[in-house]
């Protein structure tokens, strides 16, 4: 188990959170954006291995990609990269997508909490 890009970005342009407390799962994504490109992606995670794996995967796959590309992410991304996960495991992995998308949303709203 060797997840990549774990950490925080102090001056992040967007921060997204997703939680599943009943499963002891929480993911926070931090993004740094320049000219509409994701120049840095980091995250903090507690959760089952699928939550960690999918977070790591997102951080590696979308670095240096455009915000528009990143917004296209959905569960097919997990299926394409991690194979056919059982439904309950997929639920945990989806946490990473929600968190990542939230980070992009807060960026688009100017770095505020994206509500």
């Amino acid at each position: 188990m060797n997840p990549r890009n774990v950490g925080e970005i102090e001056d992040a342009d967007g921060i997204g959170i997703s939680e599943s407390p009943e499963k002891s799962g929480k993911i926070i994504f931090y993004i740094k954006v320049k000219d509409n490109i994701l120049i840095d992606i980091k995250y903090k995670v507690i959760g089952c291995p699928s939550a960690i794996t999918s977070s790591s995967l997102i951080s590696e796959s979308f670095k240096d990609k455009s915000i528009d590309d990143a917004l296209k992410i959905d569960t097919n991304f997990l299926k394409d990269n991690l194979g056919n996960l059982p439904e309950d495991v997929l639920e945990c992995a989806k946490l990473s997508i929600v968190s990542f998308r939230n980070a992009i949303k807060t960026y688009k709203k100017g770095g505020s909490d994206g509500n």
Binding site: M1, P3, E22, K23, S24, V45, I46
Partner: protein
């Protein structure tokens, strides 16, 4: 290094047990029910009776009170369904606790569907039942109390001697699931007033697929299997003679070596306890003193148990968890819930269960790997 710390799930069969069993699969394969006209079958029967004696001696019972089964689940099913069937007309009630093994919980659900009343006594934060609560709840309709000797997940040892006394005073049968405790801590069915008791060989270095039910002389019970007259007509089916003989051998070894084993297991458990004391935010579940020697249930703040399990497994260490989203059992453990753990904390809980084959160097290795894992996963976790 491969470190097996899941001995509450099953144990490795002792080599001496395996050796003893092997010839009952080969030259001594004959059916013990044909002992009247085959000397080899007679040998099998005699050896099976030695097993019966060993099991009886282990729990201070009589040889005639031991019935061989296919394991703990069958013994538990039989004890409950077999006594319920004899109360079919008047139905009545069974009292138990919510932290029983699923072999009891699911069986109780079935007899409830049959029309029996099931009452559960509460347990405290250690998983301990208060015998005073039993006194309050027991009625003339109660025909059976089933309370486990020791819990498989958190290791708490229930006050079964007091419970047995209350059952006896009220003329109620007392069954205990001793699957986790037999051959690990002392059992005396007379001192503890136990009428029915379940054991399973693979929990104490015996073979899988064999166990026993102790049925006190004079206790009426419905046969578990109808068929070819085996086990005093109460549990028919050709004897699993190699298994039964293996069970007896495992019991014999345990009677001789149990105390020594307990010492070495407690020593190794202490090594883990001392180490985790130095790490913040780890809580040991179950009763602080009245607990099985081999069990250590840990709730680790800000560490997901399934991730910890996976990480340990990658490093060759096998433990278990009370909850995992990819596990076959999807909801968190009913035991951890009953002692008041939230779903979140149940998902942060792992169980370490030691065994007699563990070595000090394995525990040293575990301690290193575990401590590093806790540190690393906490660094990864959001605050």
């Amino acid at each position: 290094m491969y470190v097996y710390l899941n001995n509450a799930a099953t144990t490795k069969t002792d080599g001496r047990v395996l050796f003893k069993m092997s010839k009952y699969y080969s030259e001594l394969f004959e059916n013990p029910m044909t002992s009247n006209y085959s000397p080899l079958a007679k040998n099998v029967e005699d050896e099976m009776e030695i097993s019966r004696e060993n099991v009886a001696k282990l729990i201070n019972a009589k040889k005639e009170e031991i019935y061989f089964t296919s394991g703990g689940t069958e013994s538990d099913n039989w004890a409950i369904k077999g006594t319920a069937l004899l109360n079919w007309d008047k139905k009545g009630e069974i009292i138990s606790i919510p932290i029983e093994h699923m072999a009891i919980i699911k069986t109780l659900e079935t007899v409830k569907k049959w029309g029996f009343d099931i009452k559960f006594l509460p347990v405290d934060k250690y998983g301990m039942v208060d015998p005073e609560d039993l006194k309050k709840i027991i009625t003339k309709k109660t025909f059976l109390v089933s309370i486990m000797h020791a819990n498989n997940e958190i290791g708490t040892i229930e006050p079964i001697e007091e419970i047995g006394k209350i059952c006896k005073e009220n003329g109620v049968l007392f069954h205990t699931d001793a699957v986790q405790s037999a051959c690990h801590i002392d059992i005396d069915v007379n001192k503890m007033n136990i009428d029915l008791l379940s054991i399973s060989a693979h929990k104490f270095y015996g073979p899988k697929g064999v166990g026993a039910l102790y049925i006190r002389k004079g206790v009426d019970i419905y046969p578990f299997m109808d068929g070819g007259h085996q086990e005093n007509e109460l549990r028919s089916g050709t004897h699993n003679s190699p298994g039964i003989i293996g069970l007896g051998e495992a019991v014999r070894i345990a009677m001789e070596e149990m105390e020594e084993e307990k010492k070495s297991i407690l020593f190794m458990k202490k090594m883990i306890e001392e180490r985790i004391k130095k790490i913040e935010g780890i809580k040991i579940n179950g009763h602080p003193e009245k607990r099985l020697p081999n069990n250590l249930s840990l709730t680790i703040d800000r560490v997901n148990a399934e991730t910890m399990l996976t990480y340990l497994a990658i490093n060759g260490i096998i433990v278990s968890a009370g909850a995992a989203c990819s596990a076959k059992e999807k909801s968190p453990s009913h035991v951890l819930k009953a002692i008041g753990l939230s779903d979140e904390l149940a998902h942060n809980t792992i169980r370490i269960s030691l065994g007699k084959f563990n070595l000090v160097k394995e525990i040293e290795y575990f301690n290193e790997v575990f401590e590093y894992g806790v540190k690393r996963f906490r660094e990864m976790a959001p605050k």
